[in-house]
């Protein structure tokens, strides 16, 4: 009998206690010492879900919503729940075959697994959505329609201004300094106002913490939503743009390559900015975005190129008021200064032709401006740069002249609030030194006097120069956004600041303005007249050259017109460029005039309707380009789609 083994009871108790101590010390390590398990548990069980706010809406100057949000539907699939459905019927609605159906299901499984939702067909076209919605009960619970916000442009206009949003690219995702707050799949502004004001429009994304299970399926709010933060909708933008004016401009630029920029000189607010030919911005939203984008991108008429700020042109005769201003300010001429032009300028080795032969057409500044005398301004230019008080052209004259140009806003980006602005070109001393290796004089650059030669301006710069003339020296940086709702940013500060120009005397401006009103009243721009409104304007016909088949060839002239009105209290300053069309007075002046009439009088008079019709019907784009362009059919499709939706 082993009754005497009492001490062994102690051993057994010790073994038990030893084991339990071992377990407790391990628990101590796991639960108290080591902190990583708590973190891992959260990562395991808490799903961080981003709640997207609705993007800010953009209104025009009349508070019409010109860029809003629309809802489209995605068809999403949970592969594990797809059972016993009429695949053929679904394929029929979606217009895909069974092979494609199978492929998409497999893609969904590969991407997100069997129990999580994946997009099966994104951004359904309205008619497909309608059909699906009726028969959705046949396909649930495997399939579901999920609403998704997209941008919509009710006026189908101002595509290049408003810009578009698109999914963030992998390269941007890597750039965490700028795009750190974005996740893959997020949409953001790529161009236009959508890009510049992204930080305001995007709003504040909310975060919802959801408890998830081991298969990543959400199971409800974590801690009753204690840690959630609500999404804050994007702020709305209010523009100085007049959408009807913009639409009119786009209609008039149909079939033409070029641009219109209209600015309110009193605020610098842009009233219209047309790049012709334009496209319907709705093409870049919704289901066909990428297909449409590549079509627009490759189109022969280059609709994605915002000519108003990116294209640069020789200003031609529209530049003459600026030449006059420099001459007057430097004191090399007075308003009564005349030049005996006999049909050409002979001051340099090659004569520069003038359209007028009659004596006295350049007897003073006003006459010279209204007749656009080439000889007069060639002469004034040379007088300005060769002026003795700057020590001649190479000493300081050329540089002084270039400085004047810079204060007019030429040769550098003005700072409009949409991206990709061009800088144009103002040649200065350095430029000519480099190009002619020191052997040059005022005859080398005499063409600058008539807005030709090396000088290149963007239409925006031309319009801004008109603001400076209209305001007699001052201007605001041209911009679209007049105000941001509940603004707490400093984005608009720089547009509220008045810039003083070259401190040119008021009398110089008066002389130039008088000359410019004469242009419309009795000079080259008579076609631009509007009943009851005094207009200051200047026509321009710019020679230009392009490379055709590798040879520098003279192309058809650009037609230009710059103007402001009413002359006594300017409310609109405008620049119009119609590429490769012909005379400025024929092609550009009517467009500018109709724009001004529409803006100042709110409608175009019956008397001028035939002119409007004629302008709209004019096609100046090269036939060979038009033949290969799909722009019209694309725009028509967009309009059809919109009609169907509403």
């Amino acid at each position: 009998m082993s009754v005497f083994n009492q001490p062994r009871k102690r051993v057994i108790q010790l073994i038990i206690l030893g084991m339990v101590t071992l377990i407790i010390s391990r628990l101590f390590f796991l639960q108290i010492v080591e902190k990583k398990y708590a973190k891992l548990a959260d990562a395991n069980a808490v799903l961080r879900k981003v709640v997207y706010p609705s993007r800010g809406i953009i209104y025009d100057r009349q508070n019409r919503s010109i860029l809003g949000n629309d809802v489209l539907y995605d068809l999403v699939v949970t592969p594990a729940s797809v059972k016993n459905i009429d695949t053929a019927y679904l394929c029929n609605i979606l217009k895909i075959d069974k092979e494609e159906f199978r492929k998409r299901i497999i893609n969904a499984i590969v991407k997100n697994g069997r129990v999580r939702q994946s997009v099966f067909a994104p951004l359904l076209a309205p008619e497909v959505f309608g059909q699906l919605q009726e028969s959705m009960y046949l396909f649930s619970p495997g399939f579901e329609l999920v609403p998704r916000q997209i941008r919509s442009y009710p006026y189908s206009a101002a595509a290049n201004i408003l810009g578009y949003i698109a999914e963030i690219s992998p390269a941007m995702l890597k750039d965490t300094a700028n795009y750190g707050s974005y996740n893959s799949g997020d949409y953001l502004g790529f161009t236009g106002l959508e890009k510049t004001y992204e930080s305001v429009l995007m709003g504040q994304r909310g975060i919802q913490y959801l408890v998830k299970d081991n298969l990543n399926r959400p199971q409800g709010a974590y801690e009753n939503g204690e840690f959630d933060s609500a999404a804050v909708a994007g702020k709305n933008l209010r523009l100085s743009l007049d959408i009807e004016l913009q639409q009119l401009g786009e209609q008039m630029m149909k079939g033409k390559s070029g641009s219109i920029v209209a600015i309110d000189p009193q605020t610098g607010g842009i009233l219209a900015m047309v790049s012709g030919p334009s496209f319907d911005p709705n093409l870049l939203t919704g289901s066909n975005r990428s297909a449409n984008f590549s079509k627009l991108y490759t189109d022969t008429t280059k609709p994605l190129f915002n000519r108003a700020i990116q294209a640069t042109y020789p200003p031609g005769s529209t530049f003459k008021p600026m030449i006059a201003l420099v001459g007057l300010d430097e004191g090399v001429i007075t308003p009564s200064f005349g030049y005996p032009c006999r049909g050409a300028y002979y001051g340099c080795s090659r004569p520069i032709k003038c359209e007028h032969h009659d004596p006295g057409h350049a007897a003073n500044l006003r006459l010279a401006l209204s007749h656009s005398c080439n000889a007069y301004f060639s002469h004034v230019y040379r007088l300005s740069v060769d002026a003795a008080k700057f020590g001649g052209i190479k000493e300081g004259g050329m540089q002084k002249w270039a400085d004047y140009m810079n204060t007019f806003g030429f040769g550098h980006k003005i700072g409009v609030d949409i991206p990709s602005e061009g800088r144009g070109l103002v040649p200065d001393k350095k430029y000519y030194d480099a190009r002619y290796k020191g052997s040059w004089n005022s005859c080398t650059s005499v063409f600058l006097g008539i807005g030709q030669g090396e000088l290149l301006l963007t239409p925006l710069q031309m319009a801004n120069a008109m603001c400076i003339v209209a305001n007699r020296g001052s201007y605001y940086i041209p911009h679209f956004v007049a105000s941001i709702d509940n603004d707490d940013t400093h984005l608009l500060d720089k547009y509220k600041k008045k810039h003083e120009g070259a401190h040119i005397s008021d009398s110089a401006y008066s002389a130039v303005i008088h000359g410019m009103t004469d242009v419309v009243e009795s000079g080259t721009g008579r076609i631009a007249q509007i009943e009851g409104i005094t207009i200051g304007g200047k026509t321009g016909t710019a020679e230009n050259y392009g490379i055709v088949n590798g040879v520098r060839t003279k192309l058809k002239n650009h037609a230009l017109f710059v103007a402001f009105a009413p002359a006594e209290n300017p409310r609109i300053a405008i620049a119009v460029v119609v590429e490769n069309s012909g005379f400025g007075a024929t092609y550009a002046a009517p467009i500018a005039s109709l724009m001004m009439e529409k803006y100042l009088k709110d409608s175009i008079s019956t008397k001028r309707q035939p002119l409007l019709k004629k302008v709209m019907e004019t096609v100046t784009l090269d036939q060979s380009l038009l033949a290969k362009s799909h722009l019209d059919s694309l725009n028509n499709n967009a309009i059809m789609l919109k009609k169907k939706k509403s």
């Binding site: 062994r8 009871k9 339990v20 796991l30």
Partner: protein
């Protein structure tokens, strides 16, 4: 004895009953916590036993009925039928080998009228009774090797059959009977040898074989050097030392690798490697990892009952059965785990206390058997959930979900209570 006149519950050991009830209730609450989703209709689920916790409630009811039946049975019935029950248990195990059903990779389940039943659980009880019967019989002299071998055979034969059923975890539990045999006089050196054996296996797995071999050689040389005087006096010492050396070397160089490549199943090898930290495949380490995350995230105070995120959302596999300790670790934290373990220690110590107050060897052996079985289950199960032991699928006694397990432990404990109530009798 005039039992009809005595109080019905006379002689019952209330502390054990109390601890038993505490553990079962904690168990049901933990299973509930593992399954509860916040929007469940609890009353509906209880009335229609379609959830594990509601089924466990039913099993608890059945167990209480069993307990009552046992309490009303005469103690002599258990001594008288111990061998018969053992034989019946073995027969059942063999039957399972033939007509058993595969559940989760182990061929150890019987299906009777829609209920699944695991005889390997029940045979623990039969074996415990048979072992008590054998050791307490007057013919047995436990100081003799023959008796010890027979006792070992009684304990290990069922384990052998259970291994054939691919239920290695439950088979391991039968080694707990060596604790009883130790109490009854098995030489203490066996414990040392068993412990050394475990160390040897672990080192064979963790340390490079040639390094280990060199260590053995150096240690042996040192031992011989320092005990050279004793060896001079007694030549057999040298033989023993060299024998141990040879055994260790052979064991490490050949037996362990052989066992790992030929005897153990692939998944078992992997589970051991996971425990040792040698296996990093996320799939293989998933269970242990999730279980450790759940327990570790409990912290000191725990997340609160029903607030655990890991245990409630199916991150931990086998949540209600083998990994039930995770729920306690996560919801009640370090403090709760200590309290929980303390309840077990109290139960074990009380059972040992009860064992030592017996006049009958039968009851004492039986009681130590109960303590050993519960201890083995507890130690292996909890150690597994915290990464101290490889994943071995055995339940936490009275707490884990499972009818077979709950009923077996109920019977084990209530037979002990019955026998203890009659401790004045000498039972054989």
């Amino acid at each position: 004895m005039n039992r009809s006149q005595a109080k019905l519950t006379q002689g019952i050991d209330w502390p054990i009953v109390g601890l038993y009830l505490a553990l079962v209730i904690i168990g049901i609450m933990s299973i509930f916590a593992a399954e509860y989703r916040g929007d469940d209709n609890v009353w509906y689920d209880i009335i229609h036993p379609n959830k594990n916790y509601s089924r466990q409630l039913v099993w608890f009811g059945v167990s209480l009925v069993l307990a009552a039946v046992i309490w009303l049975t005469d103690s002599k019935f258990f001594t008288a039928t111990a061998n018969l029950m053992y034989a019946g248990g073995l027969l059942l195990l063999l039957l399972v080998l033939g007509i058993g059903k595969d559940v989760k990779g182990s061929h150890s389940w019987l299906v009777i009228g829609g209920f699944q039943f695991q005889p390997a659980e029940l045979t623990k009880l039969c074996t415990n009774l048979a072992l008590a019967k054998y050791i307490s019989s007057q013919e047995t002299d436990f100081t003799k090797l023959r008796s010890r071998l027979i006792a070992a055979a009684i304990a290990l034969i069922p384990a052998g059959i259970i291994i054939l059923q691919d239920e290695t975890g439950l088979a391991l539990v039968y080694f707990s009977f060596f604790l009883v045999m130790y109490r009854e006089g098995l030489p203490g050196v066996l414990l040392v040898i068993a412990f050394s054996g475990i160390v040897l296996v672990l080192s064979a797995l963790l340390v490079d074989r040639t390094v280990l071999f060199s260590i053995f050689t150096v240690v042996t040389a040192l031992v011989i050097y320092f005990s050279r005087r004793e060896i001079k006096r007694k030549r057999s010492r040298l033989a023993i030392i060299l024998g141990v050396y040879a055994f260790c070397a052979l064991f490490v160089m050949f037996v362990v690798p052989f066992a790992f490549t030929k005897v153990l199943k692939d998944y078992q090898v992997r589970r051991i490697e996971v425990m040792l930290g040698k296996e990093n495949d996320p799939k293989a380490t998933y269970n242990t990892r999730q279980s450790m995350i759940a327990i570790g995230s409990g912290g000191f105070w725990g997340k609160g009952y029903l607030k655990g995120t890991q245990t409630r959302y199916d991150f931990v596999p086998e949540q209600s059965t083998d990994f039930i300790f995770c729920t306690i670790g996560e919801d009640f934290g370090f403090l709760g785990s200590i309290v929980f373990l303390a309840i077990y220690v109290a139960l074990l110590f009380r059972v040992i206390f009860v064992a030592e107050r017996q006049r009958s060897t039968f009851t004492r052996v039986y009681a130590y058997g109960v303590a050993g079985i519960i201890f083995f289950h507890l130690a292996i199960n909890v150690a597994m959930t915290i990464g101290l032991a490889p994943v071995i699928g055995i339940p936490l006694p009275l707490v884990s979900y499972g009818g077979s397990s709950l009923m077996t432990f109920t019977m084990l404990i209530f037979i002990l209570l019955r026998l203890d109530a009659d401790r004045q009798m000498v039972l054989r």
